[in-house]
């Protein structure tokens, strides 16, 4: 009996459908929580060529959800370890491991060698890179992403449908969204979302049913509430990616998940000595802060004004909303400047809190 018998006896698939699967080439970016189930099902289904991109190595904390690995593969490269496991699952297909980082330099060339791209990455920078390279190479992209107990699935760049940028035009400001796998995740969740991605891939190959193109499926593992939201294609957004195609390979991504920004509330530090308050807003921005000694260094000029920082003091950095101050702290930490804190409150709130603080002090007198 043939390996693919249970596919072939489905009238919707048959031998012709199974041949389509065998002739297809799918590239999976990231062999982690999402990548593992995607790879497992696509390999089992007999996808003719499976590519795996992952530069990372297997860590014991991965085993809770990354089901292709075990204690024997700890410390091994994930793309290589996955290939070894998958070759045992199916030795009739071709599995190619790319034990390297996906970059703007290698993405386009790599994507051109495949029919469908699967996004199983774990950070925004690479997700936008994958999306843009899919637009440039005109390949369908099967997207999946997770957060704690919730998942999102969609199909982008397929039959003139929307792309990830039509949903979220730009990456969130750094520091505004937890970016790496440090936040917990229910182990089975990437299994569910990854299996849904594998299902979308097979539907595209087989031209069966309806795909999630133009739709975002939102799944909540705790409430079992599913929402399917409509997304519209923005030609303008897609054109702007294509317009910049010539420069694409020169771009660089900068993933700094390792830096943790320490934040502090203004009330906790307002009456302390030995603190330098630094305003990283541009000179024209309002309101100005009164009743507090403030050093003004706009974020855009911070790197060239390091001499304004008082190395003997703790540095409390603020801006209009708390986002630029986080970026400033990240920047200073990268430059090895210690004792930097991002103030949670924005300038307007700080102004009010300081006013009240001074009122309170004068009442006490």
């Amino acid at each position: 009996m043939s390996r693919y018998n249970r596919h072939i006896i489905l009238s919707e698939i048959g031998q012709a459908g199974q041949d389509k699967i065998s002739n297809s080439k799918v590239l999976v970016i990231g062999a982690g929580g999402l990548g593992c189930p995607v790879l497992q099902y696509l390999t089992a289904a007999g996808v003719g060529t499976v590519g795996i991109v992952d530069f990372d190595v297997v860590d014991i904390s991965n085993l809770q959800r990354q089901v292709l690995y075990g204690t024997s593969t700890l410390g091994k490269n994930k793309a290589e370890a996955a290939k070894k496991r998958l070759e045992d699952l199916n030795d009739e297909i071709s599995i190619i491991a790319y034990a390297e980082k996906l970059t703007h330099k290698n993405a386009v060339n790599l994507f051109q060698q495949y029919d469908i791209i699967v996004d199983g990455t774990d950070n925004f920078e690479t997700r936008y890179l994958v999306n843009d390279a899919s637009i440039i190479t005109n390949k369908p992209l099967v997207f999946g992403a997770i957060y704690k107990f919730e998942g999102q699935v969609s199909v982008f760049n397929y039959k003139n449908g929307p792309s990830y940028r039509c949903l979220f035009p730009n990456p969130p400001e750094k520091g505004s969204v937890a970016n790496c796998s440090k936040i917990g995740v229910l182990g089975v969740l990437p299994g569910i979302i990854g299996a849904m991605q594998a299902n979308e891939v097979l539907k595209i190959i087989l031209e069966l049913g309806n795909t999630l193109s133009g739709k975002l499926l939102c799944y909540n593992a705790l409430t079992l509430q599913n929402s399917t939201l409509k997304i519209h294609r923005s030609d303008e957004t897609i054109q702007s990616v294509l317009k910049d195609k010539e420069n694409f390979h020169k771009k660089e991504i900068d993933i700094n998940c390792e830096i943790e920004v320490t934040t502090v509330s203004i009330e906790a530090i307002i009456s302390k000595n030995n603190i330098q308050f630094i305003d990283v807003r541009e000179a024209h921005e309002q309101p100005k802060i009164e009743g507090l000694e403030v050093t003004n260094v706009p974020l855009s000029k911070l790197e060239n004004n390091l001499d304004k920082l008082d190395s003997a003091k703790k540095k409390a950095i603020f801006c209009q909303s708390g986002i630029r101050s986080k970026r400033a702290v990240e920047l200073l930490q990268k430059l090895d400047i210690q004792n930097c804190y991002s103030v949670n409150e924005g300038a307007s709130e700080i102004k009010i809190i300081i006013k009240e603080h001074h009122k309170m002090l004068s009442n006490e007198r």
Binding site: I146, I183, S227, L229
Partner: protein, 77 residues
């Protein structure tokens, strides 16, 4: 108008609820967002898109009374 608002992911952590209903007299999605921003102080630090009646919309859209949802991007994989 009576509006039900759903919150996904990190947004539900800011609001401490996944769903709420409120009476609202404004007519635009942007006005509703202003109300939510003043109700939830840290919402302004979050990235999200707005969904009305299961469809992604711009914030200049008129409120129809259908369900609204605030949808943040997820990075995890």
């Amino acid at each position: 108008m009576h509006i039900t608002i759903k919150y996904f992911g990190q947004i539900a952590e800011v609001t401490q609820t996944e769903e709420e209903s409120l009476e609202f007299s404004g007519s635009l999605v942007s006005e509703l967002l202003e109300t939510l921003h003043s109700k939830y102080n840290t919402l302004k630090n979050k990235d999200f898109q707005v969904v009305q009646n299961q469809e992604l919309i711009s914030i200049e859209t008129k409120l129809t009374g259908d369900d609204i949802a605030l949808l943040p991007p997820f990075a995890g994989g």
